[in-house]
């Protein structure tokens, strides 16, 4: 066990309770919007609740992170405190991996079990009795009941946009590492340059992904509603996209902090956390590329 340092225990803070109200209100509002929408209402009081919640959340995030940053700059964070942050962030990323695992699990299950069974293969193949004429294929270009879940006209091949996107994300993982080394060597200019490059790569990725979605919805009729293929496709890529956006925001905040002169060669956990997150997003994409697009 290493030597024990002074540990900063922040006193009374109003942020957690504001965060609670924020999150509760946001989600309550979201639920209200969905329930009203499901019942065919054209307007919903949920929007107002939702917006208030979001504003609270935004206020909270600025406030909370603001005070953590101030504490850090005031030198209150001992190396031990730093390790707490590191453990916290690592396990948070672990939990995110498990979240994606659930969706990958759904994808494997559908491909390997459910769809073949419905098509008459395997242990529960007699299920095909209920879906006359349905044949198992993957990607699923027909569904057991097309009147409810119209099948897509086609799917997105891996070697076009997805390949470009893969290259973009892999390079961004590379650029962020270069930036990190620059930070450690205290080369601020180089740091800003490479971090900026990472952000640009990220933005292009998001743009191309949006392009791909538009193509899927408008030309291929590949939607959330087009059966299990569409469901897994959009949920996996969609959640990944959301994480990319979140990661990009983190990186942007880092860039702003760096231009304000924050971080030093040996104290820059905020930056590292964002970088870790970015690598995680990248790895998830590689999995996606292989399992969703290629095979």
């Amino acid at each position: 066990m290493s030597e024990y340092q002074k540990y900063y225990v922040p006193d009374q803070s109003k942020w957690p309770i504001i965060a609670t109200f924020g999150l509760g209100t946001t989600l309550f509002g979201a639920a209200t919007i969905m329930v009203d929408g499901g019942q065919g209402a054209s307007t919903s009081s949920g929007w107002m609740i939702f917006t208030v919640g979001l504003l609270l959340m935004a206020y909270m995030i600025f406030g909370w992170f603001g005070s953590v940053v101030r504490e850090s700059r005031a030198g209150l964070h001992s190396p031990q405190m730093d390790r707490s942050f590191r453990w916290g962030m690592s396990w948070f990323i672990f939990s995110e991996i498990m979240f994606f695992a659930a969706f990958f699990g759904a994808l494997f299950y559908a491909r390997v079990f459910a769809v073949p069974w419905l098509g008459g293969e395997g242990d529960r193949g007699s299920s095909n009795m209920l879906w006359e004429g349905f044949q198992a294929t993957w990607p699923l270009i027909n569904t057991p009941d097309p009147s409810l879940y119209p099948a897509p006209k086609g799917v997105i091949g891996p070697w076009g946009l997805p390949l470009i996107n893969t290259i973009l994300l892999v390079s961004s993982s590379f650029t962020i590492t270069v930036a990190h080394h620059a930070l450690k060597a205290d080369k601020r200019k180089k740091l800003k340059l490479w971090l900026g490059a990472t952000i640009i790569l990220a933005l292009v990725f998001v743009g191309l992904q949006a392009e791909e979605y538009m193509h899927a919805y408008q030309e291929l009729n590949l939607t959330l509603q087009s059966g299990i293929y569409g469901s897994t496709f959009f949920m996996l890529t969609g959640f990944h996209g959301a994480h990319v956006i979140l990661g990009t925001i983190m990186l942007t905040v880092m860039l702003i902090r760096i231009s304000k002169g924050h971080f030093s060669a040996d104290n820059h956990f905020g930056f590292e956390a964002a970088a870790w997150y970015w690598h995680f997003v990248d790895v998830v994409w590689l999995m996606l590329f292989v399992f969703v697009y290629v095979i």
Binding site: L118, R124, S126, S127, M129, L130, W131, L148
Partner: protein, 376 residues
């Protein structure tokens, strides 16, 4: 000493007396009437006894310590901890017991999964809240739903012997033959269980699960749906009659003839009174579970039909919701479940009962035409 023992015995006997005098204090699984259920019973008893023996040994040591090594008796604590031999032993021994247990279980399980070479195929479909039995080899089928009167459930009438375990049309199977059951469901997951057959299998919408039974003794066997399936999950029993082969054949013949007869009902000319009478009966057995006997429903989950805009409105809309149901709600497509005569009768009844005095009527022919038209 001996007197004491006798007295203790007598006391035990007295304590046990009420238990023995009431037949209903059933405490154990029944061995059942199929080979499978007997195998399961065997497994159950074996593992039960294994657990009892382990329990006696472990708790024996514990109670001995509690008794002998208490501070109030002045016992001084020892200070030992850790002992590799003991620790290895109490890892290995349970492991061996478990392996011994797993072997017969594996054999039984594999046998249960073997649905090949069946003599009779029956498809079982779970609905909210009734069962449908389709005899695939003979091309007929029927619904089976709870026949216990609502008054018994609501304590307005004394409860019968087979309270909640009785149905209008039981499933009939031949004795001594391997019957393959194909289970599925129409809406949510149900589960078909008859304890005496040792068979419980989930009925899953969109998929078919296979299972089989071979009943050795004729008789009536009762079970229940065992997967939570909504409001009346507790009210969808299963009754199976196992009959000798000859009797089974006669029964099949009757059913096929009756199925033929049903078709003629559509062609018959119906009067309003006939429709209302048939309609009331069918309504009570099919629709009342949700919309209630007096049409008041259970809003907001189940709308009232008394004064409902649909039930007193345009007749086409009324036919549509009954025949096609409404997807995503408990309101099923009854077009597939009921014959034209029943649908016509029910609609007529709904439009004219409980003060819904619309005055019009629908004939089975009209329903027939409506269905034909829909198929195009």
């Amino acid at each position: 000493m001996r007197v004491r023992a006798k007295r203790a015995l007598a006391l035990c006997g007295l304590a046990l007396f009420p238990v023995m005098s009431m037949a209903d204090w059933t405490m154990n699984m029944s061995p059942g009437v199929t080979q499978t259920s007997n195998d399961i019973y065997g497994l159950h008893m074996t593992i039960l006894w294994i657990c009892v023996v382990i329990g006696v040994v472990v708790f024996g040591v514990m109670f001995w310590s509690i008794f002998a090594h208490r501070k109030s008796r002045g016992h001084k604590p020892a200070n030992f901890h850790e002992n590799t031999t003991v620790e290895v032993l109490w890892t290995i021994i349970p492991l061996v017991i478990l392996v011994a247990m797993a072997i017969p279980a594996t054999v039984t399980l594999i046998d249960m999964y073997d649905t090949t070479e069946a003599d009779v195929d029956i498809k079982i479909t779970g609905y909210q809240w009734k069962w449908k039995y389709d005899y695939l080899d003979d091309e007929f089928g029927y619904f089976s739903s709870l026949s216990t009167p609502r008054d018994q459930i609501n304590n307005r009438q004394t409860k019968g012997e087979n309270y909640l375990l009785e149905v209008d049309n039981p499933l009939v199977v031949p004795v001594g033959q391997k019957v393959r059951l194909l289970m599925t469901a129409n809406d949510v997951i149900h589960s078909w269980w008859v304890p005496e057959f040792g068979l419980k299998k989930d009925a899953i919408p969109g998929f078919i699960n296979e299972a089989w039974i071979r009943v050795d003794t004729p008789g009536t066997y009762r079970g229940q749906c065992t997967e939570l399936c909504g409001k009346d999950h507790g009210f969808m029993p299963i009754v199976v009659e196992a009959v000798p082969q000859a009797e089974y054949q006669t029964w099949i013949g009757e059913q096929r003839a009756a199925a033929e007869k049903e078709k003629e009902l559509t062609q018959k000319e119906w009067t309003m009174a006939e429709l209302m009478e048939r309609g009331e009966k069918s309504y009570q057995s099919t629709c009342a579970a949700c919309h209630q006997a007096d049409g008041s429903g259970l809003p907001p989950s189940f709308p009232a039909l008394r004064g409902s805009a649909i039930a007193v409105g345009d007749i086409a809309g009324h036919i549509d919701i009954v025949v096609n149901g409404k997807r995503g709600t408990a309101m099923q497509a009854f077009g597939e479940q009921l014959n034209e005569a029943d649908i016509a009768a029910i609609i007529t009844y709904e439009r004219n009962a409980w003060g819904n005095n619309v005055g019009d009527m629908v004939t089975p022919k009209e329903i027939f035409d409506y269905k034909i038209q829909q198929q195009q």
